[in-house]
Symmetry: C2
Subunit: 349 residues, 2 copies
C-alpha cells in the first residue's frame, strides 16, 4: 500500500523537456503535461561553430534541466526537439539547418538518445508550434486545426484526428507553398505564386518600399495635401527622412495611424492569405485556423481581410464553421510544442 | 451444430444495395463486400415528376433488388445513396438536386428507412465515387487518397485515415473550388479562379471554340499551309464545316491526330489541374490521386501535363510519393461506392 502511494504522485509529476533550435539561439524548457513551462534555459550558437560544439552544449544544457527537474521532484519523460528545417520525423533525422552549418543528414534522435538515455522526438518548428496551440493554446480541441507561422516564410502545421498530420512520406502541411496565382512570382520552391511569395516578410517589405518610393516621387511635385488626411506620407517620413528600419511592425503602426500605403498593403496581404485559406477551408473544413509569428501580430490589419476573404470565397457552411484566431503562445511556442511531442503517445502520421 | 453451419454462409453472403441518383436516370445495384456488382437495375426520372413519384418508384426498385437478392441467397445489409447535390451526411438529408425539382431539404435517410426497414446511408456522388475507388478500385490502400470527378464541374473526395473525410460540418473535399488564380474568372461559388472554372467542361468547350474561331479567322487570309503539319485545322474542319458537336472527347481525338489548338488547350488544362494538385500534394502528401469522369478519359493528354506540373511545382519528397491514376470504375462507380457506404462501419467524418 505504502509503496503504491509513493509511486502515484511521482507518476503524475512527469514532465518533458522541449528544445527550440533557432538560427542563433537554442531555447530549452521543462514542460508539465498541462503545458506550463516549469524551468527555462537558453544558449547562443555561433555561425562558425561546428555541429559537435553545438551538440555538446545541447547535451550539457538538457542534462542540467533534467537534473534541476529531478531536484524539484519531476520525472523526465523525454526530450522533444523543434528543428528549423526539414526533418525526417520517423527516423529523427535533420536534413539540414538553413542557419547552422555542418548539420546535413544528422541522426539527431539517435545521437541524443545515446547520450541522454532518454526518449527523443524530432519535428520541424512549424509542426511543433501547431502542436503547442492544439494541445494548450488557441487551437485547443479544434479538429481539423490549421496553424500558420507567418515570418520570413510561412510554416504550416495540420492537426487531423487529434494528432499532427505528417502524411505517409512525412512531408505534409507545407501550407506556405499552395499557389494562389499560377503565373505569379517565382518561389524559392520552384513553383509560382505560392502564398509565401506574397505574405512572407521579404515580399512585404520589398513591395512596401517600392510603393513608398512611388508615392514619394508622385507627391514631390504636388502642393501640400489638404488638412485632415492625417496618415498621408507618415510611413514615407519615418523611413526616408527619419531612416527608421522598414519592418512589418512599423508598417502596422503606420497603418493604424492611417497611412494609406501601409493600410492598402496589409489589406492585400490579408486577402491573399485569405484566398489560400478559403481553398483549405473548402478542402478540409477546419474548425480553427491559428495564425502566429511576427506578421500575425498586426492584429485586425491582417485578421480583418483574412476573415472577410474566407467569408467571401469559401463555401458558406465551411466558412461559418471555422474560426481564425491569433496564436496563444509567443516565444514559448517552440519549447512547449517540442515537449508536447512526448505527450503525443506515439509519433506517427 | 447444424444451426450454426446454416447461419455462417448466410452471414458471409451479405451484400448492400447501391443507388446512384443522376439527373435523368437512377441506377441501382446489389454489391458484394468485395465490390462485385451482382444485380443491376435502372429507371428514368422525368423533369416534370415530383418527389413523391420518384420516391415511390425508388422504393419499388429497391424492394425488387432486395427480393431478387434474397432469392439468390444474399442478405441485404442496407442501402447506400449517392446524391447529385449537397447532402447533410450525418442526418441523411438532401439539400436539393440541381436537376430534380421538389427535393429541397428532403430527409431521405429517414423516409427510406421507414419504408424499407433497412439501414440507409446518404452521401454526395463525388464522395461515393472516391469511396468506390478507395475500397475496390484504383485508389485501393492509398492513404491519404484524393479523388476528382472531372465533368461539368469538379467533384472531390478525400480519404484520410482509411475513411471518407467529411470534416466536422460535413463540407470538406470541395476540391474543385480551390483557387489557382486570385484574379481569375468568377466562379459559380462566388470565388475567382477556382480550378473548376478552368478545367470544367463548360470553360473547356467555350475556350476551345473561341480559339478555333480565332485560328479560323487568322487562317482564312493565308495560303494553304505547307505539306506535313497534319493536324492543322483538323478540329476547325470537324466543328465548323462538318458541324460535329465540340466535346472534350472530340477535342481529345483531334489532339491525338495532331491538331495544335486542341493539343495546346489540353496541355493548359492539365497544367492548371496540376497546379491545384501540387498545392494539395504539399498540404496532404497523398499516396494516390484518382482522376475520373469524362474529361479524365482523354488519357495522357491530361495525365501527362498533370504529372509534369506536380513534379515541377510540388516539394520533391511529396511529389515522388504520389501516383496519379485513372479511375478504375466507369458507370458503376456510383452504385458500388454508394453500397460501400454500408461497409464503412459507421458513417462519420
Amino acid at each position: 500500500m505504502k509503496q503504491s502511494s509513493d509511486h502515484k504522485p511521482l507518476r503524475a509529476r512527469t514532465a518533458a523537456i522541449g528544445v527550440d533550435i533557432g538560427g542563433t539561439n537554442i531555447k530549452l524548457g521543462l514542460v508539465a503535461p498541462d503545458g506550463r513551462v516549469l524551468l527555462r534555459g537558453s544558449f547562443q550558437t555561433r555561425a562558425d561553430e561546428g555541429r559537435a560544439g553545438v551538440l555538446g552544449r545541447l547535451v550539457e544544457n538538457i542534462l542540467a534541466v533534467s537534473s534541476a527537474a529531478r531536484q524539484k521532484g519531476w520525472g523526465v519523460k523525454g526530450v522533444g526537439i523543434g528543428a528549423p528545417g526539414p526533418v525526417d520525423v520517423r527516423r529523427g533525422w535533420v536534413y539540414f539547418f538553413p542557419n547552422l552549418p555542418g548539420w546535413k543528414n544528422t541522426p539527431l534522435k539517435a545521437i541524443l538518445e545515446r547520450r541522454l538515455r532518454l526518449p527523443v522526438a524530432v519535428d520541424n518548428d512549424a509542426n511543433v508550434m501547431a502542436l503547442a496551440e492544439f494541445r494548450f493554446g488557441a487551437g485547443r480541441g479544434a479538429d481539423p486545426m490549421v496553424a500558420l507561422t507567418l515570418g520570413t516564410g510561412i510554416g504550416g502545421g495540420l492537426v487531423i484526428g487529434g494528432r499532427l498530420f505528417h502524411g505517409p512520406a512525412y512531408s505534409a502541411a507545407e501550407l506556405g507553398h499552395i499557389s494562389i496565382q499560377e503565373d505569379g512570382p517565382l518561389c524559392g520552391c520552384g513553383s509560382r505564386g505560392c502564398v509565401e511569395t506574397y505574405v512572407g516578410n521579404g515580399y512585404f517589405v520589398r513591395e512596401l518600399k517600392k510603393r513608398l518610393k512611388a508615392a514619394s516621387a508622385a507627391g514631390r511635385g504636388r502642393t501640400r495635401r489638404r488638412f485632415g488626411d492625417g496618415g498621408h506620407g507618415l510611413l514615407e517620413g519615418w523611413v526616408f527622412r527619419e531612416k527608421r528600419e522598414l519592418t512589418p511592425k512599423l508598417a502596422a503602426l503606420a497603418a493604424r495611424k492611417g497611412d494609406p500605403v501601409a493600410s492598402k498593403l496589409w489589406e492585400e496581404t490579408g486577402e491573399r492569405l485569405g484566398t489560400m485559406l478559403a481553398g483549405l477551408v473548402n478542402a478540409l473544413n477546419p474548425q480553427k485556423i491559428v495564425l502566429g509569428g511576427g506578421v500575425a501580430q498586426s492584429g485586425s490589419l491582417l485578421f480583418g481581410p483574412v476573415v472577410r476573404t474566407i467569408g467571401k470565397k469559401a463555401f458558406p457552411i465551411a466558412a461559418r464553421s471555422v474560426r481564425v484566431v491569433p496564436a496563444a503562445f509567443g516565444v514559448d511556442a517552440g519549447v512547449v510544442g517540442a515537449a508536447a511531442l512526448l505527450f503525443e503517445g506515439r509519433n506517427k502520421p
